[in-house]
């Protein structure tokens, strides 16, 4: 096993705190994998780098990313294309947009999943199970029957009336019109026939032309060409070994990224007239799409995943301690954060570091009550934009009830969860798990020592080196939020004792969450992590060594743009990684 010592610039070196603790930064990629016990036994001694993205000499291939990496100056290496299953949201949006608006697809679909922080990664890696196939079939027939038996929707989709059973031409025409829209690409004659023929058989057997339409449509919806995004491009003689996505594939990839649905006729039109084939053309269309309301809705999903807000509405809190907490309030909490992020990205066009420093936010009466805002800042009914008063000691997204609530227990706060969230989601530097066999029980308070705050108890715990080495990394920053309880309400006491929110981050001290948020805003690692996580979301995979040159370039561009989020997204869309994939069939 080879140990590499921070050879790739500051981003790979541990924070100054860690360097002080451990002396050096280690980055090891284990070979495929089960060498882990040894590494875990190392605990936090260098653990921050255990699974990092620099390969030691004995591992030349990073699975799922690229071919062996030659020596020499780092250049971006293309990844293989991947088959990405539509999320349930994308499936529903596509059905609604292609088959008729206003119809909420009620069917139960195979469950979504997330891996490494993104649904897009899980959708690019997990398989459809037997029960998933069953669910797709049930959903397909449910949708097809609804659409064909609804006279208004049918009229929009089918050229002929429900006439003679053997109107093969009309049935074929239906498949040839609807199929390419559902599949986001042209169909071959073979494919059109493949769905027309069993449709005709259904019409004949069941003596109903419309039954034929239903069976053909249900088939199109079960095809892998509908269920998956298949962006595998075509060979380009100018760039052997690579495949360039076709115009319609680019249209599809852009549309799912920015609008969460199949491409519009306009975007497809650009594709078919050859106007989606250069990076500049792609960027320009992405820019147009980002200006639409639909982009805002899709980006809400992005931030909900980014900030780990997804579970909030199914969270349970102690009903005696937090009687006001219910799914409706949870949903309001999430809405505050999504409105805030939308405001920063689309309305204020803010430097994204403001997500930690801004006192602008959006509250409704229930949130105003939770925050104990003065009457003049309490909206009468709906959400309104407000400025959080300075004396509230609450700013930025980390002061939102949503984040504070998700990263807490049922009754108690959790400095550990809060710190782990910051390290994992915001710094791309997740802490390691507790080493096996170490007891995780918080020692019982010494009955003679009198009452303690949670912080005091946790700090006693740090005395155990097996625990403290790691908990110091998470809990110290987590302590800065201790005056926000498990649903994010301000408090000054814990266990009737005054709360200490002071600490230090990368060598600089802070007084409370305001000070800590200011330090986070100054830390380039946070914005670099945003680039990295956005790149993962777009690509549907975690970056490997081969992506590093491109990711570094994107980070530099993000800095140069003044941390304009849309610019960063456009830079990814314009990059080589968006338009080109490795040719798997190439020798």
């Amino acid at each position: 096993m080879t140990v590499l010592v921070g050879r790739r610039g500051p981003r790979y070196i541990l924070s100054s705190e860690l360097k002080a603790n451990h002396g050096f930064a280690m980055r090891i990629r284990t070979k495929k994998t089960w060498i882990l016990p040894l590494l875990v036994a190392m605990g936090c001694q260098g653990e921050m780098g255990i699974f990092a993205d620099v390969a030691p000499d004995d591992v030349k291939v990073i699975p799922g990313t690229t071919a062996p990496i030659p020596d020499g100056p780092p250049v971006y290496q293309h990844a293989a294309p991947n088959l990405r299953r539509l999320t349930s949201t994308e499936y529903r949006n596509t059905v609604q947009d292609v088959l008729g608006a206003g119809y909420m697809v009620p069917a139960s679909l195979p469950p979504d999943a997330a891996t490494n922080g993104w649904m897009s990664i899980a959708m690019s890696s997990i398989s459809v199970s037997q029960s998933g196939v069953d669910k797709y079939e049930t959903a397909a027939f449910e949708i097809a029957e609804h659409v064909i038996t609804s006279p208004t929707k049918r009229a929009l989709l089918v050229a002929c009336a429900a006439e003679s059973v053997d109107n093969v031409a009309c049935l074929r025409d239906f498949v040839a019109t609807i199929g390419p829209k559902l599949w986001r690409r042209p169909m071959t004659d073979v494919e059109i026939d493949a769905y027309t023929q069993p449709g005709v058989e259904a019409a004949t057997t069941l003596e109903s032309f419309d039954e034929g339409l239903i069976f053909a449509l249900a088939g199109l919806l079960q095809s892998p060409n509908f269920v998956y995004r298949t962006e595998y491009g075509e060979p380009d003689p100018d760039r052997p070994g690579l495949r360039k996505l076709t115009g319609t594939e680019v249209a599809s990839k852009l549309s799912y990224l920015i609008w969460g649905t199949a491409p519009s006729d306009y975007t497809l039109g650009l594709a078919t007239s050859g106007k989606l084939s250069t990076p500049a053309q792609i960027r320009s269309e992405a820019e147009r799409m980002l200006a639409s309301q639909r982009a805002r809705e899709t980006m809400n999903g992005f931030w909900s995943e980014y900030l780990e807000l997804e579970p909030i509405t199914s969270l349970v809190k102690d009903r005696f301690v937090y009687p006001e907490f219910d799914p409706a309030l949870a949903s309001d909490m999430r809405e505050e954060t999504l409105r805030f992020m939308e405001f920063l990205v689309f309305d204020a066009r803010a430097d994204m570091r403001e997500m930690f420093t801004s006192r602008t936010t959006f509250v409704n009466p229930d949130l105003a009550a939770l925050y104990r805002l003065p009457a003049e800042l309490t909206p009468a009914r709906e959400f309104e934009q407000i400025e959080m008063p300075v004396e509230m000691e609450r700013q930025g997204v980390l002061g939102h009830a949503s984040v504070l609530t998700v990263q807490s227990h049922v009754v108690a706060t959790s400095p550990t969860y809060r710190g782990k969230f910051i390290k994992t989601a915001l710094l791309c530097d997740p802490p390691p798990p507790p080493p096996p066999t170490v007891s995780t029980i918080l020692p019982e308070p010494d009955p003679n020592a009198g009452p303690q705050t949670l912080r005091q108890r946790l700090e006693d715990y740090f005395a155990e080196p097996a625990c403290g080495a790691c908990h110091q990394l998470t809990d110290v920053v987590g302590f800065s939020f201790e005056n926000f309880n498990a649903i994010g309400r301000y408090r000054t006491k814990d266990n009737d004792l005054p709360i200490d929110t002071t600490g230090s981050y990368k060598g600089e001290s802070f007084m409370n969450m305001v000070g800590f948020s200011e330090l986070l805003a100054k830390d380039p690692d946070v914005m670099n992590c945003m680039v990295r996580r956005s790149y993962r979301h777009v690509m549907g995979r975690v970056e490997g060594k081969a992506d590093e040159p491109l990711v570094l370039e994107l980070e530099a561009k993000y800095l140069a743009s003044g941390y304009q989020f849309k610019e960063m997204l456009l830079d990814i869309v314009e990059s080589d990684a968006f338009l080109w994939v490795r040719d798997e069939e190439a020798p």
Binding site: N116, S127, F215, P224, V542
Partner: protein
């Protein structure tokens, strides 16, 4: 054949859900041979295989029984099963260890005990941790080996929906076909009812053949052709994924064909009422959910809808809350925070064992031949670790319930300190008449079982 004059649809209506004791199904002597060990036509009674899995472990000091062999005394955590009259059906295996390493608490034990192989970590350093199985879980090993001609190859269900959704398939699903290929459980009693007894269920003696079945199969031929065309253009990993999807399509086709051609279900088959949706925000509802699902399982197997099942009672790590205890904290949090000998964790484990006992009794009360479904079952019950507080994988909590059609003695406590837990899996397979030269991977690799389990 003996003719039954029952309105089967109504016979058990309302009996599902635990409010009413499970009804023993009438043995129909004409269906069995003289000794009651086989069907009248000579085919043997089928064996069934199940996995009962709960997350977050046990309190080891309160789990391990005293005494060994057939002279054993249950521990307090196993007592609920004994109190429910199930001692003769229990084999307690203590002292065993997961030998595939413990790189990550919860993940490693779950993968080890369910597949005998190590996990695949999916943690590229600066992204959050995830993992998946490297091999199929044992329920799928059994299903693939038996290839029963039942409508479902296997049935996956779960009681508590709050499973961990962000750490890969390991913690999210129990049943796996292989890496990143999980079989998601149904958590809704309504959905499980629909799956077993809804569209596609043929009543005994129901001769109607729906022409749509064949038409649905036809359409799936076109879907398969698309998959084959697409397959040629994919990389190796995606080919495996698409092949899995294709296998699901083939499975659906054969199920549709089976509905068209299969003989009517066994006459012990009775259709219950739909239990509907049941919430999970009180202890009573948690019990009702669990019991409705257990009843549906027993009835489904009496109708031979499936022979392999798995029950993810509650997920690992996740914020599962058990309401019947004096704490509002999640099971997982309690395993970490509760000091001493963890009385609240103990209460939860006891609750889980009470519900497991209900499930086993639902099988036991379903007569078949001169025995019952539990006589003909092999059920592996275990968790993702031993002590949640320490993430330990030694002194592993393992139970085997059922007699495997006579291949398991029952009423035993077998203690092997440091024994390879994969041996139990090997022996379970053998009890299902699946004899493999070896099973497991790396430290989990074994070539023999636990013969002390045999009669």
């Amino acid at each position: 054949m003996k003719k039954l004059n029952l309105n089967r649809r109504n016979f058990l209506r309302g009996a599902v859900g635990g409010a009413v004791a499970t009804i023993g199904l009438p043995p129909l002597e004409a269906m069995f041979n003289a000794s009651g060990t086989a069907h009248a036509d000579g085919t043997e009674l089928p064996k069934r295989f199940g996995v009962f899995f709960w997350g977050n472990g046990v309190v080891p000091t309160r789990w391990v029984p005293t005494g060994e062999g057939s002279m054993w005394t249950p521990s307090s955590e196993i007592q609920p099963l004994v109190a429910a009259g199930l001692k003769e059906y229990l084999t307690v295996l203590s002292g065993f260890e997961i030998k595939t390493g413990n790189p990550r608490g919860h993940h490693a034990g779950a993968v080890g005990i369910l597949s005998g192989a190590p996990l695949i970590p999916q943690d590229p350093g600066n992204a959050g941790y995830a993992s998946t199985f490297s091999r199929p879980s044992i329920d799928q090993v059994v299903a693939n080996a038996l290839q029963p001609n039942t409508r479902y190859k296997s049935l996956e269900f779960g009681v508590d929906r709050r499973v961990s959704t962000s750490e890969g398939t390991t913690l999210r699903y129990l049943s796996h076909n292989g890496p990143d290929s999980g079989n998601p459980p149904d958590y809704s009693p309504h959905a499980v009812f629909e799956k077993l007894f809804g569209a596609g269920f043929m009543e005994p003696g129901d001769p109607v053949v729906d022409p749509r079945l064949k038409l649905r199969r036809n359409i799936l031929d076109a879907v398969k052709d698309d998959m084959n065309r697409l397959n040629n253009r994919l990389g190796a990993t995606d080919r495996i994924r698409l092949e899995q999807h294709l296998e699901g399509v083939r499975g659906l086709q054969s199920r549709l064909l089976q509905i068209e051609t299969a003989p009517p279900p066994p006459s012990a088959c009775l259709v219950p009422g739909n239990p509907g949706e049941i919430g999970d925000d009180t202890a009573e509802k948690q019990r009702l959910r669990s019991r409705a699902l257990s009843d549906l399982l027993a009835l489904g197997m009496a109708c031979d809808v499936t022979r392999v099942w798995s029950n993810l009672f509650n997920g690992s790590v996740s914020g599962t809350l058990f309401w019947g205890i004096d704490s509002v904290n999640s099971f997982h949090q309690l395993t970490h925070d509760e000091a001493g000998d963890q009385p609240k964790v103990h209460q939860i484990v006891t609750f889980i064992m009470e519900e497991f006992a209900y499930l086993l009794n639902a099988l036991k009360n379903t007569e078949e031949g001169d025995g019952n479904l539990l006589d003909n079952s092999v059920i592996l019950a275990s968790s993702d670790l031993s002590s949640g507080q320490r993430h330990s994988i030694d002194e592993y909590p393992i139970l085997v319930a059922g007699k495997g059609g006579g291949s398991i003695a029952g009423d035993r406590h077998i203690r092997q300190v440091g024994g390879n837990a994969s041996r139990v899996l090997w022996q379970c397979l053998k009890s299902m008449d699946i004899i493999l030269p070896e099973f497991g991977v790396d430290g989990g690799l074994v070539r023999s079982g636990v013969p002390e389990m045999e009669g």
